[in-house]
Amino acid sequence: MSTERLVTLPIDAQESAKPFFSKEKKNDAELEKAIGQIWDIARGFGLDPYPTHFEVVPPSIMYEFGAYGLPGRFSHWTHGKAYHQMKTIYDYGLSKIYELVINTNPAYGFLMDGNSLLQNKLVAAHVLAHVDFFKNNAYFEKTNRQMVDMAGLHADRLKRYEFEHGRHKVESTLDHALVIGSYFTEDYNRPGSAQEYIDEDRKKFEQAKKQPDRPKTPYDDLFGLDDLGKKEEPKVEEKAPFPCQPEPDILDFLAKFGNLEDWQRDIVQIVRQEGMYFAPQMKTKVMNEGWASYWHVRIMRELDLTDSESVEFANMHSSVVAPSQTSLNPYYVGMKMFEDIERRWDDPTPEEQERFGRKKGEGRKKIFEVRETESDQSFVRNYLTKGLVEDLDLYIYKREGDQLKRLDYNWEQIRDMIVDSMTNFGNPTINVARGGGNFERRGELLLEHDWDGREIDFAWAEKTLSHIFSLWGRPVNLITQRENKKVMMTNNGPMTITKML
């Protein structure tokens, strides 16, 4: 047996534990034993999670951690709003957060006080599969497994800044940063200081000059305006464009080059780092939930459940994977996809055996591989088949008043649209343009929208630009398209002007 109880409750909790928790102590002991069994079963199947600590918490804490994303995370009104939303949904009995798991080593799983023993068993099995995913999926490789401590340090620094500079200023800076909170790259090797960035950028520029056919951006004509009428030949430009190529990590760029005080730069970097930590989770939601659901079923089957427990389990499982008319249920779709992959690799067609050399019975092996190498986009692109789209009855719909109208698309289009919706967290792709760090030689910022056929929401964009202006300090421009024409939005704080190009 590999489960040893090494931990006792800390002193203060022990004291308060006495009158209130004596009944729960007995239940907790039973639950801990069951979790130990579940661990062994999971290991038996080949799952390989980090050591995991489970914590029983009251509902309010559950949805608080859910709203904040991490225990101990910094205070912000957006968290307060999310907290209120979740609490209300819970209080009205509309839904329940069953499981909460943190990607750290050791990992943490939260169980809701008030769950039945059976419910907790299912959650524990589900959680362990999640932890296995966190540990083994390639996209999580660089995530900070001590993030809870890190988030606590961030929160402490923010508190200190509040004390030094006032709550309002800190809140505004956080607001500005959170507005573009998804515009970063998961580049853990980025140059740390502004000067290092500049040096590296210059190096890249020199290298690119040696290869004259660098990839052209759609906006090169803007920068060639000065050269109209001159002969086209590789010239030594006096001032290299900065940055020398489009920069997707807007947060980092602003943190380094915006007109900010040091503590504000720190805040932007905090937002960025925490964003980087969560990014893989957001990119693998379907896979991860599918993986965890796939395994909680199989693990629970190995337990000796009583009849009533079996019924309870069936009910709970079916409500977790229930399909939805208005959105994609990741638990449902992910699980079905894994089961489909397993089936197909257990039983390859003769053609597949010959062409790809697949052997029978490799289903399990295949899904373990998949969980290691794919993210949602590649998962869907590669493994969502025509058969699945039909079996699961996936469709694209449009809201017309109160009605949902199914649109007429074939399975490939549906699949592609799903993949598209996952790009860049579902947000438009926007970069700092080449030369956008010193646009018009006036220190203005130029952003470009990487056009893919979908227009942006202009009202929201105006407000967003205003926040970016607050971080940059000088006018901010965005090139995008509107009604098939290229336009440039310019913001200098309160006002945004849009011109056609």
Binding site: L31, Y68, G72, M86, H130, D175
Partner: protein
């Protein structure tokens, strides 16, 4: 208490075979207040957003046409953090619906939450506010300006309050309970283990005595006048109703006893009840002097300035019968002013078309500070009008700041 302090008490060695791998614990979270604290901050921001936008909100259709009791959903745009997003309204570009967007989590890390069955795709959260809360915010700094302590004897009420206990009093006012308790106390002190009620002395008796409670209140009356002639279009009507809606609420919440007299006029004026005042349709020509005359008559008859704070208000589009009547109005206003604390005149001209023949121009000649004119060209000016009329006026004669 927290979670973080616990974190380093959970000790694991790296997971070798046989090493510790899972554990379970339970803490006391009862003092933890972070979520509610941040939620409170969010609520604060909602209130701030509302306050910053009062001028638009209070003239919103939904409020004025509601029955005044309901919770009103106020369109607050400022409370989501904006971000770059696609325009799913779908004018042009790819017109797909919300599709299979299960990833609408924005920047925050998902806490692995899950919603059973149908995911509520609609943002269930709307900023809701009761009209009372809105009113509270609006009226925070409002007051009836230059309110003087005028009381009249005949409106004084005499009430009696029983608020003291004495050892002497009238039999009918005997407080039996206290008397018994007092007796038991004495008996207990005299050595009885289980005292009973006996041997009552004069000293034990307790009586309730009353003191007369004279409540004086300051008299105030508003004379609300409204132009209901044909020239008052939708916009003018709407502005008038909005103003008087809030004025009435303000008065009813801040002042216990304020009379309001409702007058409407076209070429003739008459007094109506509150319901008719707000509902009346429009027709006919405009003779403002009729209203002012009626107001003056009422004031002379019922509201002696020595005993009353009088506040006449008039809303019109300023398009009067003619110069003759304009001059008459100026005369009447001068007379009215002598008997009032403040005369509020609101001229509603959508788009502020300048015209030299409106009443406002005629009133230029009035120098009395108590005459307070306001030009309304836009819905948001209603808030400004309210502010202008209902703020402290240190410039007024004999001003005493009384609420």
């Amino acid at each position: 208490m927290g979670f973080l302090e616990r974190a380093d008490q959970i000790y694991y060695s790296p997971a070798e075979s046989g090493g510790p791998t899972i554990s379970l614990s339970r803490q006391d979270w009862s003092l933890h207040r972070k979520g509610p604290a941040d939620q409170e901050r969010h609520n604060q921001k909602v209130k701030e957003a509302i306050k910053g936008d009062l001028q638009h909100i209070i003239s919103d259709e939904a409020i004025i046409t509601s029955d005044g009791k309901k919770i009103v959903k106020v369109p607050i745009r400022g409370l989501d953090l904006p971000r770059f997003r696609f325009n799913t309204g779908g004018n042009q570009g790819i017109g797909q619906g919300e599709g299979k967007d299960g990833n609408g989590q924005g920047q925050q890390g998902p806490g692995k939450g899950r919603q059973a069955g149908d995911q509520p795709g609609i943002d269930y959260y709307e900023a809701e506010i009761t009209i009372d809360e809105l009113a509270e915010m609006l009226f925070e700094d409002f007051q009836l300006p230059n309110l003087q302590p005028k009381t009249s004897e005949k409106l004084t009420e005499e009430t009696y309050r029983f608020n003291e206990i004495s050892k002497k009093g009238l039999m009918p006012n005997l407080d039996k309970k206290r008397t018994i308790i007092q007796n038991l106390r004495r008996n207990a002190m005299g050595g009885e283990r289980h005292p009973t009620f006996h041997g009552v002395r004069d000293d034990d008796m307790r009586y309730r005595i009353w003191t007369p409670d004279i409540q004086k209140h300051t008299n105030a009356v508003i004379i609300a006048m409204r132009d209901v002639s044909g020239s008052m279009g939708e916009f003018e009507k709407y502005i008038t109703r909005t103003f008087y809606f809030w004025m009435e609420r303000f008065l009813r919440t801040k002042y216990k006893e304020v009379d309001i007299r409702f007058l409407t006029h076209h070429t003739e004026a008459r007094e109506v009840d509150e319901e008719k005042f707000f509902k009346l349709g429009e027709s006919g020509g405009t003779k403002v002097s009729s209203a002012y005359q009626l107001a003056l008559d009422i004031m002379k008859k019922d509201y002696d300035p020595s005993a009353w704070n009088v506040y006449p208000f008039h809303f019109s589009d300023g398009d009067n019968w003619g110069d003759v009547d304009n001059r008459k109005c100026v005369e009447l206003v001068t007379q009215i002013l002598e008997r009032s604390n403040l005369f509020g005149y609101g001229e509603i001209r959508e788009g502020a078309i300048r015209s030299s023949s409106t009443l406002m121009n005629a009133f230029q000649s009035i120098t009395d500070n108590r005459f307070t004119p306001v030009l309304i060209t836009d819905k948001k000016d209603v808030y400004l009008a309210l502010k202008k009329f209902f703020s402290a006026r240190p410039d007024l004669e004999g001003a005493v700041d009384r609420r």
